[in-house]
């Protein structure tokens, strides 16, 4: 059974409609986001399902997953906090911000909190260099920017997630 196709029939069609009919493969990246929403990460099953929809091999799907950093082939924390520590942000203290945030959470960059809620990652420039420290939160549902942050703010945000059922 092709869960993606059956559960999201309309959405899949809308995505396919963006591209010429003989260029179905172009729908790969949007479908991967859809799969990530459905499964939380890009599972092998998702690769097979997408391959089937687009008439390409699971390996071709996997190659694209492997290339781009916003697709994940492994599950991690429900919220991925991705802190920019690239040069412009680093010039404004983002490395210190990351360090303190991690200390507060008791993890190292790249790790997930024990409750499985938060993974902290370092990322390259997010095009928000004038509002450092900045991080984005990636969840299966999408991405949200948080700019001009302090560790207190960030911890407050995390606590709101913790208190959600």
């Amino acid at each position: 059974m092709n869960t993606l196709l059956e559960k999201y029939t309309d959405e899949v069609q809308t995505i396919l409609a963006k591209y010429p009919p003989d260029q179905k493969r172009s729908a790969l990246m949007p479908l991967l986001y859809l799969a990530q929403r459905e499964y939380g990460y890009i599972s092998k099953q998702a690769m097979n399902e997408i391959g089937e929809i687009l008439d390409i091999t699971a390996t071709e799907v996997a190659s694209v997953v492997g290339f781009y950093t916003l697709y994940h082939d492994q599950p991690a924390g429900k919220y991925r906090i991705q802190v920019c520590t690239d040069l412009p942000c680093a010039l404004r203290g983002s490395e210190e911000f990351l360090k303190q945030l991690c200390e507060n959470l008791g993890i190292q960059p790249g790790e997930t909190t024990a409750d499985g809620l938060v993974t902290v990652e370092e990322v390259t420039c997010l095009a928000a260099c004038d509002r450092s420290p900045v991080f984005q939160v990636q969840t299966p549902d999408g991405l949200v920017y948080h700019e001009n942050q302090s560790v207190e703010n960030a911890m407050k945000l995390i606590r709101t997630w913790q208190s959600k059922p």
């Binding site: 092998k44 390409i56 699971a58 390996t59 071709e60 190659s63 492997g66 290339f67």
Partner: protein, 837 residues
Amino acid sequence: MAKLVTLTIDGITVQVPPGTNVVDAAKKAGIDIPVFCYHPKMEPVGMCRMCLVEIGRPVVDRATGELVRADDGSVKIQFSPKLETACTTPVSEGMVVINTSQKVKDGREDILEFLLTSHPLDCPVCDKGGECPLQNLTMEFGSGQSRYIYDEKMHSAKHVPLGDLIYLDRERCIQCARCVRFQDQIVDDPVIGFYNRGRALEIVTYSEPGFDSIFSGNTTDICPVGALTTADFRFGARPWELNAAASICTQCPVGCNLTINVRREAISQGRMAIKRIMPRQNEWVNEIWICDKGRFGYHYVESEERLDQPLVRKDGKLTPVSWDEAINLVSMRFKQAGSNLLTLVSGRLSNEDLYNIRKLTDSLNGKSALYTQMGGGDVVAQVGMSTGSNLANLGKGDVILVIATDLHQEAPIWWLRVKQATERGAQLIVANARSTRLDRYAKYPIRYAYGEQNNLIAALVQLIDPQKFVDAKAIKHLSEQSIIKDTAEALKAAQNLVIFFGNEGSGVADSQVLAQTCAILLATTNHAGKPNNGLIPVWQRANDQGAWDMGWRPPTDLSTSIKEANALYIVACDPAGDDPRLSLTPDFLVVQDLYLTPTAKLADVVLPALPFTEREGSLTSGERRVQRYYPAIPGRTGALADFAIAAQIAKACGITLEERSAAKVMDAIARENADYAAISYTELANVEEQWPIIGRADLYYGGTSYENKQGLGMQLQNAVQKGEPFQISLPELVEQSGEGLLAVPITRLYDRGNTLIPSQLLRTHLVSTVMWINAKEAKQQGVEEHDVVQIECGETSALVTVELEDAVPDGVVLVPRSVGIPISEPCRVRLHITERV
């Protein structure tokens, strides 16, 4: 032809066609530009940056469009400040290429150093050692020492099975993408790809079941380092210890040229043993590729089960005897049988075997029969591919028609070459009752009901020439279809026309008619007898065409012929294995084969033959190219070549037949058979220079495919080409009829034939005793996936497992050939469920 472009490379002036890249142009001038990622059979990608050269171009005055000249009158050349990649740069008029300057050398040393920093340098234990371009280029261009910090090198997995045939050493991979591009662009089976990016790029497969592609072995040939190796050869030997013998693949009618690498083996008591099978270049046949069946399916020749002594039944048991005793007994009984002798052979034999055995049988007044499920070889002799043909010449304006065959499974390299012709612009018509993998490239995919193939071709003929098949009711519903009308138009407009026909959905008689209708189509469109035109039969065996050419024909009714015979001489076929109920009970049964097949077990005398790897011979491909193979290793004592056995029997019967060498037998064939008049072993050994240049220890690296030094073979002239009259009359057409479920045998690449089962490596790929049915029909028939059912066809039946497959038409079940299901022609069947899991 387009005007040639003139350029100079290291001072040497070269002329090449426009569009040629600098690497190839240099090669034509005998200059090696080193490459890793560039492969002459694939589009250049310019990734590895090894082929850097200095390039200068004439300066043109913008205003006048004239060349700017220096004071001495010479054309002013402007060099670009950067080195350029020769593989991606097309030549242009007046270009000046420098391949030897210090700047160029430094550039290459830089690139090599980068490549080596992430390479494990485990050459002493690498299978590619000795034939590795990275090693060779390092000797040539490397700096001799690495300045990089060794403990920070990449380390990654070394023995990664990408499938059960191909292994990957991630450390050795230099990310040239040759393998990925081969799978993607050349064979359209992208089941391996890159994962990650940057320095973490690695080859992976996420397909199920892994790197499972019938051409996978070729990636190990073109991998420029030891990253990809076959499960067959890994750690098998070092390339420089190997001897090479030229051979021809005997697995299908394409006739791919092979090199067999052999070595003296301690484990086989110092005998010579085959270490691997490699492609040998023949741009007319297989270019530089072979399929995995040809590469990995040879192990039967070294099977422990092989016979090495004649056997004679004594007290009910097959008992070893001397050759003299066996031959005397056989000759005596054959003479007694006279016209009641029936000789049954298959296209597994060489031309020389087929000739001698035929001579023997004829001299004794015996009957001869070809064991085959397909007809039409005589038609092919009239309108087959003409001398001077090459599928690689087909392109824009040409049409290829493929009917009643699944080329991908039956003749993989033809599938590949047809696909490539479509990429060059040829229009493809694929007609079959079901979809096959070739449909992807077809401009006109045509579906008909099994049994209608002859009528379809007749309908096309009728549309093109209304005078033919005038009143045929059977074709009306076909010729009215718009796709068939369009197809007829395309055929009419074709510059060249090649037709492949098979026997899917036909018996022997029906496929004979198919050959005729196809021949008529060729004649009607005025394509018969011309180069790059003709009829190509997709036989099941490598030398079926040779058998027809040597005068062998399938019997109208095999089982009756067998029943009527007193003595049976069965060579290189196993009718009892294919159909256990066939009654093989003549007074005297002689079987000549490699092993004790089910048929041989019934024999009174068993004569051990030599496989193609241990003797000489020639084969005639479906394109009617005669090619010779050479002995790769000495013949096992106790066994003899088939033609020699026949000659010995003949001698004992008082008949003289050539037995000294296959070459001499071929001379006899040439004297007697007008089609083969020009053929001799010397002629067959002729070679000419081929492009691309491959297989030498060049820096320009085309792969480990072997250069062809032992012969390209000769394509026969067909009757029409020779100016003989076209002698095929319009066959009678019959309307499709019959009620009930139709079982159709189909050919799968990895069947369970005697010549494949002994290859352990391919074991998991072999098709099992299944039947394919579509889901709707399954419901109708009350069967479910995985059910074991008794499939009954008249008197015979077999147990098969049900597999669902969308591509099977309604009212039909497909069964594989050569797996022991005794259905050799389409037949109406009944199903009984015997087991449900």
